[in-house]
C-alpha cells in the first residue's frame, strides 16, 4: 500500500460517510415524504458508492472487490425503486406539502385518495369515491 492510494481511499471513505450523514439529516429536515425520498436516494447512493470505492482501494484481494461491486450495483438498482414506491403511496395518501409546490401537473381526481389521509388503520377498507355533495 503506497501513501497516495491510502490518501485517496481515506478521502473516498470520508466523503462517502459525510454524504450518508447528509442523507440522514435530509430525512429529518426535509418537509414531506417526497422530499425525504430525494435524500434517501441521491446522497445516500453516492455515499455508498464512495465508501465502496474507498474500501476497494484499501482492501486486499479481488474477492472483496467483487462483493463491493455487487453492493454498488444493487444499491443503484434498488434505491430508485423503493423510493418510487414509497413516494407513490405517500402521494396517494396526501402526505404532500402542497404549499411548497411551485407546479403540480399531476393533481386531479383519481390521483389521490379523496378521504384517506394516511392515518387510517392498516386494515381499513379500500377507498371509496368521496360522497358527492348534493
Amino acid at each position: 500500500m503506497t501513501g497516495s492510494s491510502d490518501v485517496v481511499a481515506f478521502a473516498c471513505l470520508l466523503a462517502g460517510a459525510a454524504l450518508c450523514l447528509t442523507a440522514g439529516l435530509g430525512l429529518v429536515r426535509f418537509p414531506d415524504v417526497l422530499s425525504r425520498m430525494h435524500a434517501g436516494t441521491k446522497p445516500q447512493v453516492l455515499g455508498v458508492l464512495l465508501v465502496m470505492v474507498g474500501g476497494a482501494i484499501r482492501l486486499d484481494g479481488w474477492t472483496n472487490v467483487w462483493m463491493l461491486l455487487l453492493v454498488a450495483a444493487f444499491q443503484l438498482l434498488t434505491a430508485p425503486v423503493s423510493a418510487h414506491l414509497i413516494s407513490r403511496v405517500a402521494y396517494r395518501r396526501r402526505h404532500v406539502r402542497r404549499d411548497l409546490l411551485l407546479v403540480d401537473e399531476y393533481g386531479g381526481p383519481g390521483r389521490q385518495d379523496a378521504r384517506y389521509h394516511g392515518d387510517e388503520p392498516g386494515d381499513a377498507p379500500p377507498e371509496q369515491p368521496a360522497p358527492q355533495p348534493s
Binding site: A18, L25, L34, S35, H38, L46, L49, P80, L100, Y106
Partner: protein, 188 residues
C-alpha cells in the same frame, strides 16, 4: 407461457441466466469451473421456480453512446448528490418543490424502466408515476427556484432519455427519437 418452444424461451431468458451466473461468481469472488457450473444450476433453478415475464424488444448495445451515457451519469450522480446534500444542510431548508409530467418518446418496457431508474438518480427528480400507455412520467422535483428552472429540469429528463435510447434503443427507437427534437432547446 408453457407452450412456447424451448429455443425461443432460451433466447429470451439468456441474458437473465448470464446475469444470475455473473452475480453468483461475483459472490464467490473466484473464478472456477465448479463455480460456473453451480451458478448455472442455481440460475436455471431460479428461472424455473420463479418465472419472470420476458423482456422483449430489439434492444442492442452501442458501446460509444453507452460510454457517453455512463460518463454523464456519473457526473450527474455527483452533482445531484452534492445538490441534495446542500439542500439538507442549508440553514433555510427546502423552500420550493414541484410535480411535473414529462411525455417520453421511448416505447419499450426496458427503455422506460431504464429512464425511470436513471432520472431517479440524476439531479432533482424522483419518479412518482409512469403511465406506460401514454408514456408519461410524473416526477417530483426537489430544488426548484422558479418556473424557468422547472422547464430546464424537464428538458434535462428528455436529454437523459436521448442518451439512454442512443445507447440501448433499437433502430426504430432511435428513429422515433430523431423525429421529435423537443429537447434540442438550449439547456445551458
Amino acid at each position: 407461457m408453457s407452450v412456447e418452444p424451448a429455443a425461443t424461451r432460451l433466447r429470451h431468458q439468456g441474458p437473465l441466466v448470464v446475469w444470475l451466473v455473473l452475480v453468483w461468481m461475483l459472490l464467490w469472488g473466484t473464478w472456477s469451473w465448479a463455480n460456473l457450473l453451480s451458478g448455472l444450476l442455481v440460475a436455471l433453478a431460479v428461472l424455473t421456480l420463479l418465472p419472470l415475464p420476458h423482456v422483449v424488444g430489439g434492444t442492442r448495445v452501442r458501446p460509444v453512446p453507452l460510454l457517453a451515457f455512463l460518463g454523464h451519469f456519473v457526473l450527474d450522480l455527483f452533482s445531484s448528490g452534492a445538490e441534495v446534500a446542500w439542500q439538507a444542510l442549508r440553514p433555510g431548508g427546502v423552500r420550493r418543490t414541484a410535480i411535473v409530467r414529462v411525455r417520453l418518446r421511448a416505447d419499450s418496457d426496458l427503455l422506460l424502466t431504464m429512464v425511470a431508474e436513471a432520472t431517479s438518480l440524476v439531479p432533482g427528480s424522483l419518479v412518482l408515476d409512469l403511465d406506460r400507455e401514454q408514456r408519461v412520467m410524473t416526477l417530483h422535483l426537489l430544488p426548484v427556484r422558479d418556473l424557468e428552472d422547472v422547464e430546464r429540469k424537464k428538458a434535462h429528463v428528455l436529454v437523459v432519455e436521448r442518451r439512454l435510447v442512443r445507447a440501448f434503443g433499437s433502430t426504430a427507437d432511435v428513429a422515433a427519437l430523431e423525429a421529435d427534437r423537443r429537447d434540442e432547446v438550449p439547456t445551458s
